[in-house]
């Protein structure tokens, strides 16, 4: 856990994230009784987008997206370098803010609606993520990812409630049903394309790659719950991903009120009760 893993993340995460996204599309297609695209399809898509013309409403909208990409990479790199979990959350939020600003900047009604919904989504997942960080601190006595990973017991034993709260917000970060309000990968025609409506060509490709970085980062947070053994951790991360796909294909989109109430409720009920137990037990 050091600079080395951070560099490894920056180099490998697009590959892994792209494969995850390809697997996602393949498995989803199979669940719907289709053959589905090749696993490498996301790479073809991004490759194509790099070859297309880059149309903009305003040139500055691309600048915001560039910051979004840089900060997404930074968030993950900091996390995989074993850095401070709180700082990681700040960077994550900042990346999200730039994404939303880019949507507002392109001043189309569709990206406006998308940006508003993205803001709601950020509001929904933020408490749960902070509770994850706080609860991990209460158990391990450190906000540093490198200390959390080397904690001898699997964190899930102490944090089952927090884990449930984390699972609940996972579809938001993966932009999946039932919380795919802002921009969805499957329902391709709703509010046109949300925030990314006015983006094309290279910028759209970069946004896609930033999402891949995010996928790997979010699954990395899931891995922390099982981090004491590498293989169990990887297996569980894969199972989390599978669960996500099943939920995605089995549910319909909910209204934003439900998303907000649901994820806050989960964070404060499951996560909060868990934290109260930890406090009663006493922590290092």
């Amino acid at each position: 856990m050091s600079l080395f893993t951070a560099i490894l993340y920056v180099v490998l995460a697009p590959l892994v994230g792209g494969l995850i996204s390809g697997l996602d599309r393949k498995i989803s297609a199979r669940m719907q009784g289709r053959i589905g695209p090749p696993i490498l399809q996301p790479f073809y898509d991004v490759g194509k987008l790099f070859k297309k013309e880059n149309l903009v409403v305003r040139r500055s909208q691309n600048m915001f997206m560039t910051f979004f990409v840089i900060l997404s990479v930074f968030t993950g790199a900091l996390f995989f370098a074993g850095g401070d979990l709180l700082l990681v959350i700040f960077a994550l939020t900042l990346a999200g803010v730039f994404f939303v600003l880019g949507g507002y900047k392109s001043s189309s009604p569709y990206s406006f609606i998308g940006a508003q919904r993205e803001t709601l989504q950020m509001m929904s997942y933020e408490p749960a993520i902070i509770i994850v960080a706080v609860a991990m601190f209460m158990v391990t006595g450190s906000f540093q990812v490198k200390d959390i990973v080397s904690y001898p017991r699997p964190l899930i034993m102490d944090l089952p409630g927090v884990f449930i709260a984390f699972l609940f917000i996972l579809p938001i970060k993966f932009r999946k049903s039932p919380f795919d309000l802002a921009t969805s990968h499957h329902a391709h025609q709703e509010i046109v394309k949300g925030i990314t409506t006015e983006f094309s060509g290279r910028t759209l490709a970069l946004i896609e790659i930033a999402h891949w970085y995010e996928y790997v980062f979010v699954l990395g947070v899931g891995y922390l719950f099982f981090a004491n053994s590498v293989w169990v951790g990887l297996l569980m991360t894969f199972l989390i991903f599978e669960l996500l796909l099943i939920i995605d294909n089995a549910t319909a989109r909910v209204r934003w009120q439900w998303m907000l109430v649901g994820s806050w409720g989960m964070a404060f009920l499951a996560g909060g009760v868990n934290i109260i137990f930890l406090m009663m037990r006493g922590y290092p």
Binding site: A29, Y44, G47, K48
Partner: protein, 145 residues
Amino acid sequence: MSSISKSPWVIHYDGSSCNGCDIEVLAALMPRFDVERFGVINTGNPKHADILLLTGSINEQNKPVVQNIYNQMPEPKVVLALGICATSGGIFRECYNVMGGADKAVPVDLYVPGCAIRPEAIIDAVVQALGILEKKRAAMNAAAV
């Protein structure tokens, strides 16, 4: 084959027609034919699309709409006229308000007749359109150098 022909994203617009071809396009996009096998995605957003599927004929009212969609698509792009209405105006050709086929509004790359056009023909047309996309991309490269 480069990545450009492996990920054709389409947008669909129906002009003045009986909506037969319109329905056929939607039928071609359904899970049974599963065009996502070829990477085809129905975007509904001209800025993300590579291929414009036009059905139905052009009249005074929808001409600016079609042109607007066309102009918003980033290069390289391909336009397919699907069904006899879009190729020439078809049975609506003599109507007082109809101007003719899709080429009255935008440059068309492929004409695919049929009344109504069959999903197989649509998929075949899209696959042929990939070749045209590839050529246009090469032309873009040549112009850029």
